[in-house]
């Protein structure tokens, strides 16, 4: 029964979006982190989404996907900014520290987008639940 699979689909969407919110929180928390080496600097993280293709062969190639999955978390390749802070205990021999490449504006936009998408999935799940309950009381 396909109404049941809506729970799986919406659930996968909610899981993916909450992971996205998680990376946003991590990025914002580390926006001001510094490091003594360019390799140690924090790089902004972003999850990579992909559609889950259905395993059922019933509908052939025209079958719908079955939700969304997170393939992995990628790190931003943007340039690491370096600042001259000789007084910083983390500074290297030349007095430079390496900050994170997090863009707070990007992260805030990501956060709003993720929370809206999460709400969408919650509404879908609520609607499916109501439909199932109505179907259960069919004929009364």
């Amino acid at each position: 029964m396909s109404l049941y699979s809506i729970f799986n689909v919406a659930g996968s969407g909610m899981a993916a979006q909450s992971l996205r919110l998680n990376t946003v929180a991590s990025n914002l928390a580390n926006a001001e982190s510094v490091s003594g080496t360019p390799e140690g600097a924090y790089r902004a993280r972003e999850p990579l989404f992909a559609a889950v293709q259905s395993q059922q062969a019933g509908g052939g190639s025209a079958d719908a996907s079955q939700g969304v999955q997170v393939l992995g978390v990628t790190e931003s390749q943007a340039a690491i900014p370096q600042r001259y802070e000789p007084g910083n205990p983390l500074a290297n021999a030349d007095g430079y520290v390496y900050a994170s490449n997090v863009n707070p504006v990007d992260e805030l936009v990501n956060m709003i987008s993720a929370s809206r998408a999460y709400q969408n999935n919650v509404e879908v799940m609520n609607s499916a639940k109501q439909l199932m309950l109505k179907t259960l009381t069919l004929g009364q």
Binding site: M1, S12, A51, A64, N120, L131, L138
Partner: protein, 137 residues
């Protein structure tokens, strides 16, 4: 005395099947609203229902999709309704064609239609019950 017809609920069982499937497809679109390269899908309800209903007078023909199969009526048509790709109203850089507002409104309309089909079936059951009890109770 006439027997209870085979298709007591008419086209509505088929329609219910189709609305369910469409809700599934739309839920998928919403779940993949941020997936790069995902193409939004939808079911052409009119086409699918006319494929299930045949002549359009409410009668349901038996279907036999594979050779040698005896037609099995209820689930042959709408279960295999062809999915089509939605035409995007505005392009996006990552190749995603999901428009969350369109999907939301379609899902809401789909929910109402599903409940309408449920109401029709409920009314049919009430009618039958009235006939059985003779209007008492």
């Amino acid at each position: 005395m006439s027997p209870i017809p085979q298709n007591l609920f008419g086209i509505h069982t088929q329609a219910l099947d189709l609305w369910q499937r469409r809700a599934d497809v739309l839920a998928n679109n919403l779940a993949n609203a941020d997936t790069p390269g995902y193409l939004a899908r939808d079911i052409d309800f009119r086409k699918a229902l006319s494929a299930a209903g045949g002549s359009g007078d409410g009668s349901l023909p038996l279907q036999a999709p594979t050779a040698g199969q005896i037609g099995n009526g209820p689930n042959a048509g709408p279960g295999q309704a062809a999915l089509e790709y939605r035409v995007p109203t505005q392009p996006s850089m990552d190749g995603n064609t999901v428009d969350a507002q369109v999907e939301q409104s379609d899902f809401a309309a789909n929910t109402v239609h599903y409940q309408a089909s449920l109401s029709f079936i409920t009314a049919q059951i009430h009618m039958l019950r009235t006939a059985i009890t003779g209007g008492q109770s």
